[in-house]
Amino acid sequence: MDSVGRTIPKRFLSLVLLFLALILFAAAPRYASPYHIIQLTSIFMYIVLTVSWAVFSGPTQYMSLASAAFFGIGIYISAILGKVLFLPVVIGLGGLISFLLALLVGLSSLRLRGMYFTIFTFGLSELIRHFVLWWEVNETGTVGRWVVGVNPKVVYYVMLIIVLMTLAAAYIIKRSKFGLALRSIGESEEAADHIGINVNAVKIITFAISTFFMGAAGAIMATRWTYIDPSIAFNPLFSFMPVLMAIFGGIGHIYGQILGAAVLTLLADVLLTKFPYYYMLLYGIILVSVIVFLPQGVIGLEGKVKGLWKGELAK
């Protein structure tokens, strides 16, 4: 931990930086092309997924692979209710229902540790995907659904607001006693229990809060895609990518997670336009390389290239 005297000016600096970035992004639709606005929206989406994934899974070391489930639920809420309800209500509901489902999942999977938890969450999101697919085929008769489209600029601003909310929540949780409790769970769950932390409550509440943002992001993203089906909405990529992005950037730092999400989303975009046929193959190679060569993330390189980052980004 840094001493108080050192952290204040740095915190002030990062606040100024954040404020400048905010102005830049808020004004973006005035000067950026529609293509770049859509690109930025995708980056924001992955920032939300990555940061909210890391809020729970980062400090506790419980690797959740259920992001796709909560994101997809937001998407389906939007598809079902988008025609009858107001956009902010739909987004709020997308988050809320994800939150409630996560409470349920958290309560039922308390006993599972380590890999069992990971397998459970992966199985859960695949179960939901297949169930929705089965439901659509047998009950509604069609696999896909149309979503009421929304102006890309509106989508952009809504996503920006969700990003800010996610970052604020992540920062507050990290800095509070709650965050400390999460970290001690990650280091030793038994010890955390013995020093009086209500381990179960802390885990479940954090998990549920983190999924709120995934659901909300899904609800607004659906309006941009306009056509959705279960394999789009519950694509396992949405579970795995946030994990890889967080690792790529550096799991322990919020700015690392943002960096990872931004760089990998842009990379996917470039590959898709430059090599449309080999894009997925190249992306797979990049994913493996990230794990092999950067297990500590780009931020982990900090130690090796000291001084380069220090002044502006370290908090």
Binding site: M280, L281, G284
Partner: protein
């Protein structure tokens, strides 16, 4: 319920169960022993299936004979992948938990690489060929001959592998490594080679199952993931790290899937998941676990 329907269900279930058992044993070797939760397991099934398909349609090689070519091929691929990629991760990860997480993510990348390489070569269309598809009458219940042959092969390979595991020195090494990697190493087991071999053998089991499946089902480069998930479920059912348990787990899943198919087609995968989630919640050590 008349006897024919019962026979239909049981033998049909055993056919699927036999194939699932092979796949599950493969994943059990990779996860139970080598500690790699290989989500690209299904891609090796796909590789085996396409190898057999190519050998049959291009060179007219008998699908059952082609196992002799496709088997060693996937075994080598698996062995090399473990020796290069996963060994490296094993030495760079700080703890076993970190290694399990990292190797799961690397396997997800592998899934992408193998699946998309196959897509580039074969295209996204559904492929298939007919081999031994005349029907055989077993006490009034009808089965395609290729399904029965697949069952026979699955049983023979399963038993052979069991004997290898129980009777040979290398099999003993594998069982020792499954129980405790470090102690096994202290007792003189060459752990690098055994783990690499386990991963390769796991790929081999998947490849053989894929070759047998290509006689029965249509194949596509994207066919793998559902089988991976079935394998994960079967392995958890038998207990993580319990190689013989996963054999039983695979058989049970095949039977259950076949019964659910009669009640409502399309629901079998959902039935697996529900069974799986319940099992994880109630008895995560598996049905044979302590």
């Amino acid at each position: 319920m008349d006897v024919t329907l019962l026979l239909d269900m049981v033998i049909g279930g055993l056919i699927m169960g036999g194939l699932y058992a092979l796949i599950a044993v493969g994943l059990s070797l990779q996860y139970g022993v080598a500690r790699v939760l290989n989500v690209s397991h299904g891609e090796f099934i796909m590789l085996g299936a396409f190898a057999t398909y190519s050998l049959y349609t291009l060179f007219g090689i008998n699908p059952l004979l082609s196992l002799v070519i496709s088997g060693p091929l996937v075994l080598m691929i698996g062995f090399v992948i473990h020796m290069t990629l996963f060994q490296r991760l094993r030495s760079s990860s700080k703890s076993m938990a970190a290694f399990e997480g990292n190797s799961l993510l690397a396997a997800f990348g592998l899934l992408f690489i193998i699946q998309n390489a196959a897509l580039l070569v074969y295209g996204p269309d559904i492929k298939g060929y007919s081999y031994l598809d005349n029907t055989v009458n077993l006490f009034e219940a009808l089965f395609a001959a290729n399904r029965l042959v697949a069952l026979l092969f699955a049983v023979v390979i399963g038993v052979t592998f069991y004997l290898f595991l129980v009777r040979t020195r290398l099999g003993k090494g594998i069982r020792a490594a499954a129980q405790d990697m470090n102690t096994a190493q202290l007792m003189g087991v060459n752990i690098r080679r055994v783990l690499g071999l386990c991963f390769g053998l796991g790929a081999l089991m998947a490849g053989i199952a894929g070759s047998l499946m290509s006689m029965i089902f249509e194949i596509t480069p994207q066919m793998g993931l559902p089988y991976t998930i079935i394998a994960i479920i079967a392995v958890v059912l038998g207990g993580l790290g319990n190689i013989l348990g996963s054999l039983v787990g695979g058989l049970i899943l095949g039977l259950i899937g076949n019964i659910v198919m009669y009640i409502h087609p399309g629901l079998s995968l959902i039935a697996y998941y529900i069974l799986f989630l319940l099992l994880l919640l109630v008895k995560p050590t598996g049905i044979l676990g302590k």
